[in-house]
Point group: C2
Amino acid sequence: MHTFTYHSPTKIIFGEGTVSHLLPELKASSIARALLLTGGKSVYASGLHDRVVKELGEAGIVTETVSGVQPNPRLSKVREAVARAKEMHAQAIIPLGGGSVFDSSKAIAAGAASEYDIWDLMLKKHPVTAALPIYGVMTLSGTSSEINDTAMITNEDTQEKFPFFNALVFPKVAIVDPVLQYTVPLNQIYYCSLDALSHILEPYLATADTCNVVSEHCEAYARAIIRCLRSLPQALHNYEIRSELAFCGTYAHSGWASVGRSRRGDFSSHRIGHALGAFYDLPHGITIGVIMPNWMQFAYDQGKGHEIFTRFAKNIMGVTEAPGNDFALAGIKEFRKFIRSLGMPVSLTEADIDAKDIPALADNAARTLPFGALVPMDVAAITAVLKQSL
Amino acid sequence: MHTFTYHSPTKIIFGEGTVSHLLPELKASSIARALLLTGGKSVYASGLHDRVVKELGEAGIVTETVSGVQPNPRLSKVREAVARAKEMHAQAIIPLGGGSVFDSSKAIAAGAASEYDIWDLMLKKHPVTAALPIYGVMTLSGTSSEINDTAMITNEDTQEKFPFFNALVFPKVAIVDPVLQYTVPLNQIYYCSLDALSHILEPYLATADTCNVVSEHCEAYARAIIRCLRSLPQALHNYEIRSELAFCGTYAHSGWASVGRSRRGDFSSHRIGHALGAFYDLPHGITIGVIMPNWMQFAYDQGKGHEIFTRFAKNIMGVTEAPGNDFALAGIKEFRKFIRSLGMPVSLTEADIDAKDIPALADNAARTLPFGALVPMDVAAITAVLKQSL
């Protein structure tokens, strides 16, 4: 095993009805003023937002709400919320929503505790020295944003989608109630769960140089996500399936899949996918579904990763026989077939992306180089993956 | 899945040479005075203690050392260290050692921050409201004491071995360097690793009512421990095996094996084992090795756990065929055989414990009732497990 640091300090409160834990957690830390953050309509339709406002208000906690966080969360909304948090002297940020709402809450938590603009903090022009604590309710599991210290924020002025990492923005408390996810449209569940799966596969496929137990751990979670997604359409209100899927989505990107590896993960699929997300405002899960199997095919064609792709085929995709005994190739095909079975596009064409945009997409993705562990990437390699994805 | 809270805030720094991270971590929190805590001779023989004293001293951090923490750590030593910590106005506790040293450090951290006696805090006569931060170096993985909030302390006056749990005593930083464990006698590695294995099996065998991925996760770690222990005698300086074993020992008892279960674990084997430990001062791993397979046999004879014992046999012990197709029984036998292959006793007799002590042992274990999930226990059931163990 390679040397690693693992830190996941978030307290996770998981299960049906656990929203009732929010107030006691805030009271235990004497929070008196908090900014709520929401995305689309679902937290209003489900009653979650109004319930939280009422319960906190009755307990004497002052709240204000910034709503309208969008997928691929925008810098402008972050800036708006930072201003509101400062104006109201918020002592905590309370995201109620999915990964975009949690991601935004991290940038807001850092921005609200700084005199500098959050984009300048993200560009590391100034250090992040403090952040407000985050107590959130996750309503769409898959990003693991509720338990990690990572955010992806899109600067709509520059069409840049950049990561923000800081140990000060780990949520203090993450509440995950799988029942709140019953009303999420099935395609969004698919997108988010595929994202979770990719968070396991990025490290799993990147390097063979960890200890075997970490790879077996990855395989168990990846199999579970695939198993749950296959069962879900026939069992939309099955709590066991919903909770196992939410559980896997919560933990997928906590960092454990990377422990002991020489590299945290490959993440070429993510970096190229983020470029698609920034240009076309596609759901992140769709960009992963389009790019990842094609990145696999690209790597396979380069003669890379044969051993781990074979293992992926047998231990995750459940491939038991393969033409010409080529399990690696059969596993990639099976993965693509699985994504298509979810009704998701597996090519740029199916995602309505024009081949003429490839140079611009490659250029955008290349701005975050270096990346790529199984295959180290450059502009030519990124272009090759995009062409493979046509 | 059942509702759960999971919280494991300790920052783990794992790998060869990671002791160098101790000083920067202390400096980052402005620690100026710290009490070191050690057990036997190994941290002196390896140079670890002197190195830490020198590095911290050169950086202006005042240290004092309390040495001589024993296995089944004693209350008297905890009280001695609490007094020293108070006298020197320690701002942190630095355990350098194994599970007993870490366990003791937790009681010391709470005791040093309280006006009350630590045993009274353990008996919950007064609440624990504060604790000094713990920054430790684990030199014998298996207890997971470096990343959980649990301690077992023996009151030698009353022959009671009681648990102490408190979220305030999670170590802040745990450093695990597998190379520091090369010089530990092999039998101690066996004891500690068997303890780690039991920390996975207690929840795994207790209830079938979690999601499947958690059980598969348990199986991967249990298999890894068994695989590493089988390879170790022929590969004492193999870093891959050492690090995988240390990694599994670190994580086994962090709490993840219990998530989503209706009960955290069975823990009958632990409770009865603790009684043996308190009476005979046996290494904890030996008491587990004696009791756990016999508890399994007891449960099997009561007609309990057939399904999970079958799964244990196939997915952990690797049993591929069984007389009369009774995999459950074959798995229990294989587990006993495995423990014996480590040169460890698998019965009270082999551990030099007299049958006449059974009533007193049962009475001692019964003081911590209620326990037992697969089979709820009482004095008669405890006695039956002990007789099964003869």
